[in-house]
């Protein structure tokens, strides 16, 4: 493949062939106010070495080098990525693999996805997981649709205000033209979903109760009590985990009574890359297996009795079932799911809980230090994992701006998503934040130098 754009001469000849005068005519389908009325403002060609220098100097303007410290969570988490992940997924067998429809030539890809499904089941404490979805938000919306399929004739969804705000927006988009009512369940003063209100709102027409694990404010929800309530009225308990590492510290959602667990797998070996690509996961109980969206890999035996892997239950899918498919998703995040599999297998049964405890203890230390500062308080008393909310004495945006001067990205302002929290600031801590960074943040928040 040549990396050369078309010459003017070639463009003219192509336009002539299809009977068009101007290149712009090809874009008339795009509303005029969405079109750039001028050519892109790009400099001329550069030699490779100059080009590298140009991009290095541009990249240096990012707050991404080692001199910055950051405490940003909110759905994407800065965890260490072991070098072996990049090395393994750079094998062409993984990164050039196409959809594994043909088991005869796709055993490697199929087994990698099967391992992913197995690991997700172990993590979530559920029976069956699919081959992955695009990201946490769309996985959550797919799970809502799934709960509507499982709960025949039920048309209401109780959606905790603690669920990631972007997830809630995506759910609203998915159900906008369906006969479905989304009902928001407020949070209690301690940051947990209000159980009393859940009990009042649950009815025979509610398909699912959706809560976070932990919720967007870092708070660990009482999944078991909520699940009991949901089950008592025949609704599915749906748990959305933006930071699934928490499952390695706390009891798994499946153990606590969740029926469907979805989440974002970015924490497990994927870089932040400005918020994507991520990798969504969804797991469910055996009873709801046929309502799962997307691709599933199963283990079987070949004619000689040897273990092998195939795409299974494909009759749920769009290419077979047309408009009656469980979802219009017929794909998965192959390479990202493999990264997650490698990460989870590498850390293993002992490593993952250790890492989770490490995240928790760093967060607990920082939380305590900040709470002791004048002008800062902790609005929520409920248990947390590696993220927590601080109320500041001035707007969070001002605090953030001040700390940026000291090369600290101190967290996320909650003003837009949770205006009811006074000057709310969401702070996240992972194993990437060392003691010096934690103490530096405390000192900077207190008005001193980092």
């Amino acid at each position: 493949m040549r990396y050369l754009p078309h010459s003017d001469l070639e463009i003219q000849s192509m336009l002539k062939t299809i009977g068009v005068e101007q290149l712009e005519e090809l874009f008339i389908g795009i509303p005029e106010n969405c079109r750039l009325p001028r050519a892109l403002d790009l400099d001329g060609p550069l030699a490779e070495a100059e080009l590298l220098r140009r991009f290095q100097s541009m990249a240096a303007a990012n707050a991404a080098d080692d001199s910055w410290s950051q405490f940003l969570g909110g759905g994407y988490y800065d965890h260490h990525i072991p070098a072996v992940i990049d090395h393994l997924i750079s094998r062409s067998e993984f990164y050039t693999a196409y959809t594994p429809y043909q088991p005869e030539i796709s055993q490697g890809t199929l087994q990698a996805i099967y391992e992913f499904q197995t690991l997700i089941c172990q993590l979530t404490g559920l029976d069956v997981a699919n081959a992955s979805l695009y990201d946490g938000a769309s996985a959550c919306a797919e799970a809502v649709l799934m709960s509507l399929r499982c709960g025949r004739n039920r048309t209401k969804i109780l959606l905790s205000r603690g669920v990631h705000p972007r997830y809630r927006e995506v759910i609203a988009t998915y159900v906008r033209y369906l006969d479905v009512e989304l009902i928001e369940v407020p949070l209690r003063a301690d940051g947990q979903t209000d159980e009393k209100l859940v009990a009042e709102l649950l009815a025979a027409d509610v398909a699912a109760l959706v809560v976070g694990y932990p919720n967007y404010l870092g708070v660990v929800e009482e999944i078991d009590a909520l699940a009991k309530l949901a089950h008592s009225s025949g609704a599915r308990m749906l748990v959305a985990a933006a930071e699934p590492l928490a499952m390695a510290l706390y009891r798994s959602p499946g153990e606590l009574g969740a029926d469907i667990v979805v989440g974002e797998g970015q924490s497990f070996g994927l870089p932040l890359t400005y918020g994507g690509p991520g990798v969504g996961f969804i797991a469910a109980r055996q009873q709801d297996m046929r309502s799962l969206p997307g691709r599933l890999v199963g283990e079987t035996v070949d004619k000689d009795g040897e273990r092998g892997f195939v795409l299974t239950l494909a009759t749920r899918e769009q290419h077979i079932r047309r408009e009656k498919a469980t979802s219009n998703i017929c794909s998965n995040q192959g390479i990202c799911a493999v990264m997650v599999s490698i990460y989870l297998a590498l850390l293993g049964k002992n490593g993952l809980p250790q890492l989770a405890r490490d995240n928790y203890s760093r967060a607990a230390y920082l939380r305590e230090q900040i709470a002791a500062l004048p002008g800062y308080s902790l609005p929520f008393s409920a248990p947390f994992f590696n993220e927590f909310v601080v109320s500041c004495s001035q707007p969070a945006a001002e605090v953030l701006q001040r700390l940026e001067q000291q090369k600290i990205l101190a967290g996320i302002s909650l003003l837009d998503d949770y205006p009811e929290i006074k000057n709310g600031l969401l702070i996240c801590v992972t194993e990437q934040n060392d003691r010096a960074q934690l103490d530096g943040l405390v000192s900077a928040l207190n008005g001193g130098a980092a």
Binding site: R152, R290, T315, I320, R321, K324
Partner: protein, 127 residues
């Protein structure tokens, strides 16, 4: 290929049996043979309504998924609860163990619109 005389048939390959004021419904021997091994059935619940010509359930085999259409309108009074766990009964015994639902028809005269065994046999041979 079996075409029991006492049954009525639809062009969608469902069979219908009138017993007293109730009607049993399933899919025909020809239909199960075309589908191949049935692995999953989705049926309505007791108390649901079925509408003439509208899908009331789904039958899934190793090679295809098909809707099952209601031969007449009515209310579901009984569902074969053994089928979900033993869907292969549709292959082994389509007219007996493989029955799907019993309904109380709104208008039993709708039965007269359906084919009898010999009409259905001709219909299948043309397929």
């Amino acid at each position: 290929m079996d075409f029991p005389e006492e049954l009525k048939y639809t062009e969608e390959h469902e069979w219908v049996l009138l017993e007293g004021d109730l009607v049993s419904i399933g899919i025909t021997d020809f239909a199960q043979d075309q589908l191949g091994d049935v692995v999953f059935v989705e049926l309505p619940e007791v108390g649901d309504r079925v509408e003439l010509g509208k899908a009331f359930g789904v039958v899934e085999s190793v090679k295809a998924v098909s809707d099952i259409y209601a031969p007449l309108a009515g209310e579901v009074v009984e569902v074969n609860t053994e089928l979900p766990d033993a869907p292969e009964m549709i292959n082994t015994s389509p007219y007996e163990d493989g029955w799907m639902i019993r309904i109380k028809p709104d208008d039993p005269s709708e039965l007269e619109e359906l084919m009898d065994a010999s009409d259905y046999q001709d219909f299948v041979e043309e397929e």
